[in-house]
């Protein structure tokens, strides 16, 4: 087997096996470092969302009539949302540091996502005022942001994120048929499954 001597001050020999190993190692490391949604974060989020929403489901499933989460549940939900948001922003900021271009969300995309959440709350309030039963189900809030996420992902040709967005829409629709208490269980299991699925897909992509 021939070896090509290293040049430009690298010294020594650099064979094809070493090159293949270095290429593989560098590619995987770079993919991990540039990944704004690393599998470990998604898996952690999946466990947290399962724990938080199952806790709420356990507290509401015996309610007759349904009154919604108790005062003790609200801090758990708010803490989950705050921790999740902070961790997502911190990890995303680290991954995209120094990166410019399509890896980063454009201002327009951020505005679309914020408007989607605002629109979801407005639609839920309108449906609630009209007496629609599933208006305030936890799964109902997923439909419009899920659609917005899928649309943005499709525009970026990011089919994994597109699938995640569609899965959120499906969860929202399924939850509407699960009843007020059951929708918490649907949200818990469904979101956990979606997050674990995305984590597995990203981990597989990074190794490919």
């Amino acid at each position: 087997m021939n070896h090509t001597p290293g040049t430009a001050g690298d010294g020594g020999t650099f064979g094809p096996e070493q090159a293949a190993a270095l290429l593989d190692q560098t590619t995987q490391q770079a993919r991990r470092k540039f990944q704004p949604s690393p599998p470990w974060l998604l898996a952690t989020r999946a466990v947290m969302v399962l724990a938080a929403l199952v806790a709420i489901w356990l507290s509401v499933r015996g309610q007759h009539p349904y009154r919604g989460p108790t005062a003790a549940d609200i801090p758990v939900l708010v803490a989950f949302i705050v921790v999740n948001f902070a961790a997502t922003v911190a990890v995303r900021r680290r991954a995209t540091a120094g990166v410019s271009g399509r890896s980063r969300f454009s201002q327009g995309e951020i505005i679309v996502l914020v408007l989607a959440f605002a629109a979801a709350l407005v639609v839920m309030a309108v449906l609630g005022a009209a007496g629609v039963s599933f208006a305030w189900y936890p799964t109902s809030v997923l439909v419009i942001p899920g659609l917005a996420w899928a649309a943005i992902a499709a525009a970026r040709a990011n089919w994994l994120s597109f699938g995640t967005g569609l899965a959120l829409v499906v969860l929202g629709v399924v939850g509407a048929f699960a009843g007020p208490a059951g929708s918490w269980a649907v949200a818990a299991v469904g979101l956990c499954a979606v997050l674990l699925g995305e984590a597995a897909a990203i981990a597989w992509q990074q190794r490919a």
Binding site: A8, G9, D10, T26, A30, V99, R102
Partner: protein
């Protein structure tokens, strides 16, 4: 098939790391010089030497911009560079598969 099939410009550990790192970004994305330096673990002078060689071959492009008083240099893999890495990877596969 022997090692001669491997692009000598890429077949250097440091430049292979640079090209592989930039290739991990989506097509068209750029990376700041400082982040690349941090990821590769080179001194600025060394990195500049390797980047210059890659730029001369049109494997990467670089751009300098100013943000107030701070000068920011960004680098990106060109389409030509991506093709060269693809050809290099294929040559490696052929070479190792033939061993």
């Amino acid at each position: 098939m022997n090692d001669d099939a491997l692009d000598p410009l890429i077949h250097v550990p440091t430049r292979l790391k640079i090209v592989a790192t930039l290739a991990a970004l989506p097509d068209g994305d750029t990376l700041s010089f400082t982040r690349l330096q941090d990821m590769i673990g080179l001194t600025p002078g060394n990195l500049i030497i390797h980047l210059r060689k890659l730029e001369e071959a049109d494997y990467i492009s670089s751009e300098k911009s100013r943000n107030g008083t701070v000068s920011i240099t960004t680098v990106a893999l060109t389409g030509h560079g991506r093709e060269a890495l693809g050809a290099y990877t294929q040559a490696l596969r052929d070479l190792l598969g033939g061993l």
